[in-house]
Subunit: 354 residues, 2 copies
């Protein structure tokens, strides 16, 4: 039971999850026995047909167009008509998510008590239903096929851009959309999110995170391919592989996110690498993982937070090490939490050498 | 000169336009002799390398991590460290865009005068530079090739889903990403944004709006293909074609958006069709067009607004008519405004019949 009327806006995964419709400039009202969409007039009929929210109100029906004539400002018109409409609903307290547009937040706060809350759909989304896990599994299988395909064509001296394109096309043909796939080589792999360009050198970091073009669920997977690696890179990779494996071993329902992250850091530090625990700007400089679903980065975060893992949560375990002098390495699996452990949705050998 | 320090957040086309980097959880500070990025620590080096903004400050450098330890809440930690950092910059007035996240807006408003303003980069983006027009032209050419390809395979009884997939694959292979391409047939074409499913029937509305996978610029184009159309659909299409042509004829630098929209409505009403001017829920139930660039819907809007057209603006002209009884039709071109007229970037015959 929410302590007020929750309102969020279209264009987010939470909105899509809650309403099952892609539509621009729409709002979803939820709570206090209300479950309602407010949409531009031209979308009303489609919203009734496509959305799982069955009460659909158009901009006209909340008096938007009269106010647009009056103010000649679409944003002000929406704020004023929404304020008036919410008054009719006998709402006192409005709950909004963190990313709610500021102009609506400020506008409503002039007429109501407005409180920012965690989007209730974020928390729902963090624990996947069976059919959602099946969808993520589908995407993960496609990733592994794409990686296998890549392994067959990657060679020293080939261009990262061409290989990325080939992998993304391979996935698209099979119904999956990958954008900004990381296929990076050389010293610049020391930047975790560097996409990669130019020649393939001694080792390649491949991070593939497509979504299904049918159902929209993501998967996420990284392997580091060794070609003629320097000793430091090989050693870093071994530490990262052990950290990932140990991290995965501690995952089960009831464990805290911080304990998974802590295990990963322990392993890396045991080999003398730095982590964020010592505020280092080199070494393991990001979190252990993030939820995967309708977004590639969603709840839960696997870092120094106290979130308790629940069966059905799907997230990545992705330790990496990054040094400007040598470059970076990373391995990453997507896993789903179970009562007694977890299942790896991207089962693939950790060591890949050409 | 901005009357304060403008701050916007990553994840928007404006942020990308202003900074030339794709990065999560970043802020761009602009104005008062400041042009600065604030990014998570792990992104700092990449931001220095990739972004056109050369002053890059990390979360650590604004004291984020101490506050995260203190509050154990990443959002609160960002608000508090940002407040403190902005105080050091001797800022009194903060300007934010409409879509700024509510939690940051509320947080900052406790320490500063905060004003919501039109994002200055939206206005800059509305008028395209030569090289941007070249990029949009490239995407538009690909669209026309894809439409020509589609014309060769569309037949009565084929599935809309299969045809959509074929068109999107055709574009992807050539370096363009189309999602949610509208390929709709039958009575449900009466919903302007219905994607289409099931059999191709008497007429097909095809709305293709891909972006380049290299440079990110969109194009937008619609034609209605007649197969064995009912008389009403043929008549509606003729009116819509004339409305589009007359609309395009009035476009030149100095004309108001509302005059283009007015011309389109005049033509449609002259044939007895309803428009939004009479608040009809059938007929021409949307605006005449929208800007096209790094987003498929951006400034300027071509509706009942007073925006004055400038040379270099790129937008769509897309009248349509929608009746539940008969279905819908639409034709759409992307055009660029010139001193004395406009150039159509999607030159293609208006009448397409199998």
């Amino acid at each position: 039971m929410l302590p007020g009327l929750f309102i969020h806006h279209s264009g987010t995964a939470n909105f899509y999850y809650a309403t099952r419709i892609k539509v621009e400039s729409a709002l979803h009202l939820y709570g206090n026995d209300i479950n309602m969409l407010i949409v531009p007039d031209m979308e009303k009929e489609r919203a009734i047909k496509e959305s799982c929210v069955k009460e659909v109100v158009s901009y006209s029906e909340i008096g938007y167009h009269e106010r647009l004539k009056e103010f000649r400002d679409s944003k002000k018109a929406l704020v004023e008509s929404l304020k008036c409409y919410l008054k009719q609903l006998k709402t006192d307290k409005i709950l909004i998510p963190h990313n709610f547009p500021a102009y609506l937040a400020f506008g409503l706060s002039k007429a109501f008590e407005v409180e920012i809350v965690e989007n209730p759909f974020s928390k729902l989304r963090a624990v996947k239903r069976k059919e959602e896990i099946a969808k993520i599994r589908e995407t993960c299988s496609a990733i592994l096929e794409a990686f296998e395909f890549l392994k067959g064509i990657v060679r020293k001296g080939k261009k990262c851009e061409e290989l990325r394109n080939a992998v993304e096309l391979f996935l698209f043909e099979r119904g999956f959309l990958a954008e900004d796939t990381i296929l990076a080589s050389g010293k610049l792999t020391a930047f975790p999110h560097f996409k990669g360009e130019g020649d393939v050198e001694e080792h390649v970091v491949v991070d593939i995170f497509p979504k299904s073009r049918t159902h929209g669920y993501y998967g996420d997977f990284t392997r580091t391919i060794l070609i003629e690696p320097e000793k430091e890179i090989e050693e870093m990779l071994e530490a990262v592989i052990e950290a990932k494996q140990k991290g995965i071993e501690v995952i089960r329902e009831g464990v805290k996110a911080r304990d998974v992250h802590g295990t990963v850091c322990d392993v890396l530090e045991s080999y003398g690498y730095k982590t964020l625990r010592s505020k280092s700007s080199e070494g393991f400089i990001h979190s252990t993982g993030h939820g995967v679903g309708l977004e590639v980065h969603e709840e839960p975060r696997i870092f120094e937070n106290d979130d308790v893992l629940k069966a059905g949560m799907v997230f990545t375990v992705e330790p990496g090490l990054y040094y400007l002098k040598w470059g970076g390495v990373r391995v990453e699996d997507t896993v789903v939490v179970t009562k007694r452990g977890c299942e790896v949705l991207t089962p693939y050998p950790d060591r890949v050498r050409l």
